[in-house]
Symmetry: C2
Subunit: 341 residues, 2 copies
Amino acid sequence: MTKLTDVARAAGVSIATVSRVLNNPGSVNAATQQKVEQAIRSLNYRPSRVAQRLRSKGGNSKIIGLVLPDIQNPFYVDVIRGVEEAMYEQGYAAIMCNFAQNEDKERLYLDILQSESIDGLIVAPVHGRDQKVVNLVLSGLPIICIDRGLTGVDVDVVLVDNHQGAFDAVSHLIKLGHRRIAFISGLPQIPTSKARLGGYEAAFREHGLAIDESYIKYGDSKHESGLRLSAELLDLPTPPTALFTGNNLITLGALETIHRRGVKIPEEIALVGFDDMYWSISLNPPLTAVRQPGFEMGHRAAELLFQRIKDPGRPTVKVVFDAALQVRSSCGAATAALKDN
Amino acid sequence: MTKLTDVARAAGVSIATVSRVLNNPGSVNAATQQKVEQAIRSLNYRPSRVAQRLRSKGGNSKIIGLVLPDIQNPFYVDVIRGVEEAMYEQGYAAIMCNFAQNEDKERLYLDILQSESIDGLIVAPVHGRDQKVVNLVLSGLPIICIDRGLTGVDVDVVLVDNHQGAFDAVSHLIKLGHRRIAFISGLPQIPTSKARLGGYEAAFREHGLAIDESYIKYGDSKHESGLRLSAELLDLPTPPTALFTGNNLITLGALETIHRRGVKIPEEIALVGFDDMYWSISLNPPLTAVRQPGFEMGHRAAELLFQRIKDPGRPTVKVVFDAALQVRSSCGAATAALKDN
DNA sequence: TAATGGCATGAAAACGTTTTCAAGAGGTAA
DNA sequence: TTACCTCTTGAAAACGTTTTCATGCCATTA
């Protein structure tokens, strides 16, 4: 790798001058600048980002961390794409870490990121009082929380209105005449699970209905829990007539169980999922789902992070996106809804 | 951040000794070792990976690059998971870059990775003679190519037998009696597209059938080309009776078009896709597809990379995984296949 | 006792940048 | 002429490690 010294020698100047040409063009004599730029080009010089990071700690190393719970979940893939697009525009790179809902793994990755001297961090904390993340916030590292907030500390947050999304989904089922509506939740300690459960309950209250706890199941936000818990629900003496699933992996698991058992959707059971996918329309049947704008959320989070890196003192903001119910044919009114799409 | 100096002062030794305790335990007096370890713990010291990288170039910075064409493609998500699991076991971290089939973006990311002084690289080159990657290989950086090889240079490769996978898929359709079998290919310059086209053609030859070029369409390996090119195929005067799609995003696009038009699968058109997904069974209808073991491939690629980092001189290897046809109900024999699942 | 060798440790250089400080050149005003 | 700016540049320190080399001490051997 060619380095500053090589360029300096080639151009007949000192390394300080080369550095100035790179970082502060205009602060140097025009003729010298020419010579140096020529040398940089002909040697195909690229500065070592490692040395840059070591020397000038904080704020201009152009690398950030992105720490997410589950890369297998298409929602987070959308978030990644949004973050990545914004970063590409600014010449940043991300160290991407998938901690698979495992707090130990999250901790390890956060340690690594810290010792990589990142400029900032976008993270979906493993739960609401994630001490490791809280400490990082307090240490002054620019941080944006995405999808999930953090209690007890002032931090920027980008998320979706999970309560309202769940409320709309369950209300939709209630309006279709359903009363035995089951809910398969993700991990109960995750803030989004709590909010979605809250929306579910609020919809029942709103319509003056009582909640039957036996229709609420708690899983781990993965495919397998959808598979298993939907089976448990179908095995109840009086099984539910409708099912609301807490995220897209649970939805796919439930769908698989329902199909394997030959249960008809929506005739025998209606299904609404949290999280839409662009191929939800190709599922059997086309899935009614609550859409989270993952790409936009990721993009917005990255923008907020850049702002905070530039101006660490700016007041924190909380950005809440709407969750929109996409009505397709998996819960009654089948033919009518299909035409809309 | 606490640093080596702080630990040294607390333990009453020099920084060299602390470094030795960290990297070469046993090379130091037992009592001193105790003192130093105590100081490290009480100060919660973690070495700066940036300084480590700067100091000792090559081989022990514990960070690698992972450069893939499309994170939206579930196959690559599986690859990422496989790589990530292997790396986690070894205490490595990855800088993940998604170049979205864009050669400029790939080049930028490779530049960034190089100037991050990574220990090694796992990459799916944008095409077979990707000069940037070739140069990196020649420069001696440990590199594993995944999913796609590189012509004209000796490099480790992990991929799937695309030719055989496509051959099996198309043979399956031929055996079911289909003759007008269309193929929607991904970007033609990508090695995998070429191999899959080769398998398609070989299946025709094998059965003594002629190929009708008008049934072969070239797209860009994304959802949109599946959407559009399947429409073109359905609009032909004599539309195909079967469709073989070149990757999973194309499959989903085609599926969407077919559904929107109300064309029945498999009665009016049979469908086989390259790339399986764990939720293929929940599609409408359950999809017959060629399965690539993405997770295993990623894991294996990471292992090969660790080997090469340790022993840069070892001979290169080419690991070829089998592509297995998963028969479901999207191409005839519908009810029989469903029972198997 | 003197010389030799091994062991534990510390001082200092190096990695490739950025940035501060000083200094030389050239011009202008008193 | 002297003093004082301004403009441009270079020397050197600093970032936090790893590693080489030197040093001092103690034990062993002649």
